[in-house]
Amino acid sequence: MKKIKNDGSLYLNPYLGGVILGTVLLLSFYISGRGLGASGAVKNTVAATVNAVAPQHVEKSAYYCQFAGGDKEPMSNWLVYEVLGVLAGAFISGIIFNRLKLKVEHSPKITSRRRLIFALLGGVLFGFGTQLARGCTSGAALSGMAVLSFGGYITMIAIFGTAFIAAWVLRKNWI
């Protein structure tokens, strides 16, 4: 790779990125028999943690019961390993493009604190939503649409439609 301008501002062409992501998805179906996902790994980690701390609660909860307790092993799941791979891959990408440092990216008009609080709120809402929708952008929308699942398209429209409205409402945080 030619190092022309490696000051951390170099990004991959988004269209090329999309093609690569699609190829990854295809390979994921071929190798593991399952699509990609992110919220599933978080969900299983939460279920495993709850099961370790309060197994009685897991048994009583209709939600946790699906993933943990009994003979179920929430951590031996393809998505958990996949997310570890995502972290490793992102790390290498950060090294190659010289972006490997701890920082909070935010608009100069707001503080890091505000940015982190909003990111956390957004994350909580999104995590809650993924459990209602049975999947997130990767698990339901991307992997779902790849197999022509109707739910996948609905999820995609819902996520991006809501994000469009929310972005307008919260635009003062960025511009």
Partner: protein, 313 residues
């Protein structure tokens, strides 16, 4: 001592069909022993080569933690003993054919030597330190003047210690996963790799880290080869050995072994180290910690999986 009486060789609690006697203490000890062996080997090797000043963290800093690692490891071994108060009986005999005897005696020799080595550098690293007694000061003077004399036995003993951490398992002829002589070299190389990782973590000198990084990449390649060799050997063996290998090649240990040991514990850190050698900025703590975790998980998996492999069906 109470002996239990078995009327049959089968269905013995905790022994047949599955061994269930070794818990976290053993892999914990194997990890610390391998790590100590690795650090001591590099410390003595670079001393013999006359590179003490260029390899400060390797020769002076990292060996400081070795006595603590060894003592903690020995404490783990002690916790594992059923009849704890009889441990001294290991030192009433020397048995060439017993791995326990090898281990006991090697540790008996290397632990005090590592303490002397570390102590001889204490004043250099902590200038305010005072040994108080004249005899200690004289001993220190003698050790500093004769470090090479100390480095040779340390280098040899550290290799024996590293190999012994694998032999402790491979001497179990009733457990097919362990009963392979490749475990000795495999554990030695893995231990040296974890030792190199600790040195990289402790070193502030870029050149030294680069040298250790290069050595580590080489060790990782050798270790991967040994792992492939281990499974090749099993798959070319009898049914029980094929079954043992299958625990890692499709069985319940497959995902943790390949994800945490092979990919995140070996391949990924090696890739990061190669990037660092190529001039990219890599926080060294990431590959180093991953190597340490990979080594620890590897020992846990080997001890756990080995206990459920067996000859009799």
């Amino acid at each position: 001592m109470k002996e239990e009486l078995f009327a049959s060789g089968r269905n013995i609690p905790n022994i047949d069909p599955y061994l269930n006697i070794w818990h976290w203490q053993i892999p914990g000890y194997l990890f610390l022993g391998g790590l100590a062996a690795g650090i001591l080997f590099f410390a003595s090797f670079f001393t013999i080569m006359g590179k003490e000043e260029k390899m400060q963290a390797t020769v002076k800093k990292a060996p400081m933690i070795v006595p603590f690692a060894l003592v903690l490891g020995l404490f783990f071994l002690f916790l594992d003993l059923k009849h704890k108060l009889y441990f001294w009986q290991l030192y009433t005999t020397v048995r060439i054919q017993s791995p326990m005897s090898w281990g006991a005696w090697v540790l008996m020799a290397i632990t005090p030597l590592s303490m002397v080595w570390a102590a001889s550098y204490v004043r250099e690293l902590f200038p305010k330190w005072d040994w108080k007694y004249n005899i200690l000061k004289k001993t220190e003077k003698w050790v500093i003047a004769n470090r090479i004399l100390l480095a040779w036995p340390l280098a040899i003993l550290s290799v024996i210690l590293g190999i012994y951490t694998g032999i402790l398992l491979s001497a179990f002829n009733a457990r097919p996963l362990w009963n392979t002589s490749i475990l000795g070299p495999l554990f030695l190389v893995s231990g040296m790799s974890t030792g190199a990782a600790v040195i990289m973590l402790m070193s502030k000198d870029h050149k030294e880290r680069k040298i250790m990084g290069r050595i580590d990449i080489l060790l990782i390649i050798v270790e991967l080869f040994f792992i492939i060799h281990l499974f090749m050997g099993f798959l070319a063996g009898s049914e029980v050995q094929v079954n043992a290998a299958n625990l890692f090649l499709g069985g319940k240990f497959t995902a943790p072994f390949f994800a945490f040991v092979v990919i995140l514990g070996l391949l990924f850190p090696a890739v990061l180290e190669i990037f660092e050698l190529k001039g990219y900025k890599v926080p060294i703590v990431v590959p180093a910690v991953l190597i340490l975790l990979g080594g620890l998980i590897f020992r846990f998996l080997m001890v756990e999986a080995g206990q459920i492999t067996r000859y009799l069906y």
